[in-house]
């Protein structure tokens, strides 16, 4: 007979089966571009993919699910995917809302400061400042691939694999020396 004391089993089962949507908004770490790179280079992962996005940016939102899938899939191979929101301060709640809806339950960055030029220059002089923008760093924390504009999950995966396997990317994503 199903008594109250036995209801905890199906309750736990229901909780486990419920959609994997984060209950709490993921923490936003305020940081400048320089700080983001400092964190990344303190203990570089095998591959770090830094994706700069904003909640109002439709292509940014569209490519997010693919990025999150890859994060799960390649975590055990030392691939880290960092998200950096450049939303305006006034949009912070929307940023959090979107991340929560995407099931993001890990800390992500929220760019601080108004100095776009410094932020852009700190990440890569070859970046025009357009969104979305993606930066790939190798195990030494060196920027090895970059592109601006949205990309498919397959494109992201191919680039990640190139860096993991220490192969060069296609010409259009290769980083130009200053």
């Amino acid at each position: 007979m199903l008594t109250l004391s036995r209801l905890w089993i199906p309750f736990l089962l229901l909780l486990w089966l419920s959609p994997a949507v984060a209950d709490e908004p993921p923490p936003l770490m305020e940081a400048t571009g320089a700080k983001i790179l400092e964190d990344l280079r303190e203990k570089p992962a095998q591959v770090t993919l830094l994706n700069v996005w904003a909640v109002w940016c439709q292509p940014c939102r569209e490519e997010m699910p693919g990025l999150l899938e890859l994060r799960e899939e390649y975590a055990d191979q030392g691939v880290v995917i960092q998200l950096v929101s450049v939303d305006f301060d006034t949009e912070r709640e929307k940023t959090l809302g979107f991340l929560t809806a995407m099931g993001v339950d890990f800390p992500t960055y929220f760019r601080t400061g108004d100095d776009d030029e410094a932020f852009i220059a700190s990440l890569y002089e070859g970046w025009s400042g357009s969104l979305p923008a993606t930066f790939l760093f190798d195990s030494k924390g060196k920027l090895v691939q970059f592109w601006e504009g949205d990309a498919s999950r397959d494109f992201f995966e191919s680039r990640i694999l190139e860096v993991l396997q220490q192969r060069p990317g296609p010409p259009e994503t290769q980083v130009k020396s200053p």
Binding site: P59, F88, D114, A121, G129, S130, L131, D150, S152, S158
Partner: protein, 203 residues
């Protein structure tokens, strides 16, 4: 093999195929390409040659939906209107594909221009070729040419999109004032965040 090549092409991000920005000193490209648009109640087509000004020419890549455009819009429009009176040609170009971004269609452009009091032409780059020729990658993105048609400034309107009261470097104003004074432009390039231009596919 053909389908593999097609797959590789389609997997590339659209803007990875965009050209490098026009180098300083370059001449204005595609000056005779006609672009449909409007200025106030006048609807017609313009070429860049049509709008070249005696003092210089300002080309503004812009759109309707981008929050960075919106953040700078009042300043850019007021400035464009004012400097058109000083002998500059000014033109705003929308290179975005309106199919995935319907806010960027012609009706949206007209509404935005009217709302902002834009007096200079706002035209449609119907194939995105103008953006490609300039190497424009985002909105807003500004290209200033001197009276001889050479590029003397490329980049942002000023150094603070979010907070107009905290602007320290009014890049475009300084560049255009330098042209009026017959002086070299001290800061010829700047960068700011913006929305990627939603290129139409190359034909």
């Amino acid at each position: 093999m053909k389908s593999l090549l097609l797959f590789i092409f389609l997997a590339l991000p659209a803007t990875a195929l965009a050209e490098d920005p026009l180098p300083l000193g370059s001449e204005m490209p595609l000056t005779e390409v006609s672009m449909e648009g409007f200025a106030g109640d006048t609807e017609r087509a313009w070429t860049l040659s049509d709008v070249q000004g005696e003092a210089g020419t300002l080309v503004i890549f812009t759109c309707n939906h981008c929050p960075y455009v919106k953040a700078w819009q009042e300043r850019v429009v007021a400035h464009g209107n004012a400097y058109a009176e000083k002998g500059f040609g000014v033109i705003a170009i929308n290179s975005n594909d309106p199919v995935p971004y319907p806010d960027d269609d012609l009706e949206g452009m007209k509404a935005r221009a009217a709302e902002q009091g834009m007096q200079y032409p706002y035209v449609v780059d119907a194939t995105s070729e103008m953006a490609r020729a300039f190497g424009a990658k985002k909105t807003p993105e500004l290209f200033l040419f001197d009276k001889t048609g050479k590029l003397v400034y490329h980049g942002a309107f000023d150094d603070n999109g979010q907070h107009p009261d905290k602007v320290e470097k009014p890049y475009l104003k300084l560049a255009m004032d330098a042209l009026l004074a017959g002086e070299p432009v001290a800061v010829a390039e700047s960068k700011a965040m913006g929305c990627s231009i939603k290129f139409r596919d190359k034909k």
